[in-house]
């Protein structure tokens, strides 16, 4: 039996294995969407039909009970009737303050917006009314209302190219959110281990600032890793922070150090295993790609950290 999506008095039959989002886009409907991987929640719709559990994974209980679901994660077995867009997360307007290169592949985007969040969370950045991507906040909430995002530039990446080439200071863009549960909390004396791969450093940098501002006194070890040392950034900034905060230790690790000072040439998994052979009693923060987070989570757990003390923010690849 073919599943059918009923939307705005149109019946759209789903192709085999197709998601509700792809079917609606194929049929010419304008559905806002972003990552197509279940993280950005931009394609959230509402329905009173029975929904597959995967379509509601990651949503809050009250959202589930309202029949909210993620169109990009929804492959219904039977007919589904869509009431409409879920009351969309409110979008706010933000002003572009600066766009600055941090390394050969990473750009820092500063936005000004009156926006509530917790350091370590992520937001959606809207390129146009229908298209967004999620980026982690590297800033902490302060009175100047400056939000900081670290954008990885891919050669054919639509968003990176748009930010690097088209955006100018003074431009207005829409943002929505915030989302995410990876942030600083808990007691101030536990040792913290913060592990960042690539632009995973953005939320880690936010969480680190937050921990310091909140007066964390326990040891903090931050490991910033990249494949190539030339992709690392904030080396001086973090090293300086460590000078003023004796509880903070910095580690920079790359598979290829390219002879750079302060960068250890090593496999990050072996490095962390050797440096932190026991993570018992640690709170661990992991941010980066899916593989990195998965491997590190397992490693940190086996080395003694308890599951509730491991916080992770996974950067999902755009799911096309």
């Amino acid at each position: 039996m073919t599943a059918i999506v009923h939307y705005q008095s149109t019946a759209v039959p789903l192709d085999h294995g197709e998601t509700v989002l792809d079917a609606l886009l194929r049929s010419g409907f304008d559905i806002p969407h972003g990552c197509k991987a279940g993280a950005c929640h931009a394609c959230m719709l509402q329905s009173e039909s029975e929904l597959p559990a995967t379509a509601q994974a990651g949503l809050k209980e009250n959202q589930k009970s309202l029949g909210y679901f993620l169109a990009c994660q929804c492959k219904p077995a039977e007919a589904i009737t869509i009431a409409g867009a879920a009351e969309a997360t409110k979008r706010s307007s933000a002003e572009v303050i600066s766009i600055q290169s941090l390394s050969k592949s990473v750009v820092r985007l500063q936005l000004k917006a009156d926006f509530k969040y917790i350091a370590g969370q992520y937001i959606n950045l809207w390129k146009d009314p229908l298209t967004c991507r999620s980026y982690s906040l590297a800033s902490i909430p302060t009175e100047d209302n400056i939000l900081e995002l670290h954008i990885k530039i891919f050669e054919h990446g639509v968003f990176g190219q748009w930010i690097e080439n088209d955006l100018r200071p003074g431009d207005k863009v829409d943002i929505s959110g915030p989302m995410g549960e990876c942030f600083y909390s808990g007691d101030k004396s536990s040792p913290l281990l913060m592990l960042a791969m690539g632009t995973g450093l953005a939320p880690i940098y936010g969480i680190l600032q937050d921990a310091l501002v909140k007066g964390h006194v326990g040891k903090i070890n931050i490991v910033a890793a990249a494949r190539d040392a030339n992709d690392l950034y904030y080396l001086d900034l973090l090293s300086n922070m460590a000078k003023f905060n004796p509880q903070l230790n910095t580690h920079f690790v790359a598979q290829c150090s390219d002879g750079r000072e302060n960068v250890t040439e090593a496999d990050v998994y072996s490095y962390v295993k050797a440096e932190f052979s026991s993570t018992k009693g640690y709170r661990v923060y992991l941010c980066g790609g899916e593989n990195f987070v998965k491997k590190m989570k397992r490693q940190a757990f086996l080395a003694g950290a308890n599951m509730p003390d491991i916080y992770a923010d996974v950067f999902l690849a755009f799911g096309e």
């Binding site: 998965k294 989570k297 397992r298 757990f301 086996l302 003694g304 599951m307």
Partner: protein, 117 residues
Amino acid sequence: MSVYEKIGGSAAVDAAVDIFYRKVLADDRISEFFDTVDMEAQHAKQKAFLTMAFGGPNSYSGKDMREAHKHMNLTEEHFNAVAENLVGTLTELEVPQEYIDEIVGIALSVKDDVLNK
């Protein structure tokens, strides 16, 4: 009073689950069955298992046990490895031997279902 209540209820499960899950993940005989992408989900399953083994409130039925393990081709060795890790966890938490015996008894009662005998 069930052994679950005697050793401290859900707090005992919370204390045991990380130790137990760490042990099975590190055990080459059985780690493949526990090593998944979704560690949170696997962690929750271990919690449910321990609650059952401690004689606590759980919704496991023999049929569920059978269904959940039926395609895993489990052998006596796998079952024993899990039981050993369970005992190791309880010993580490200094649970009195008589309670350990009781818990092992509960675990053994689902053995045939788990091994699909």
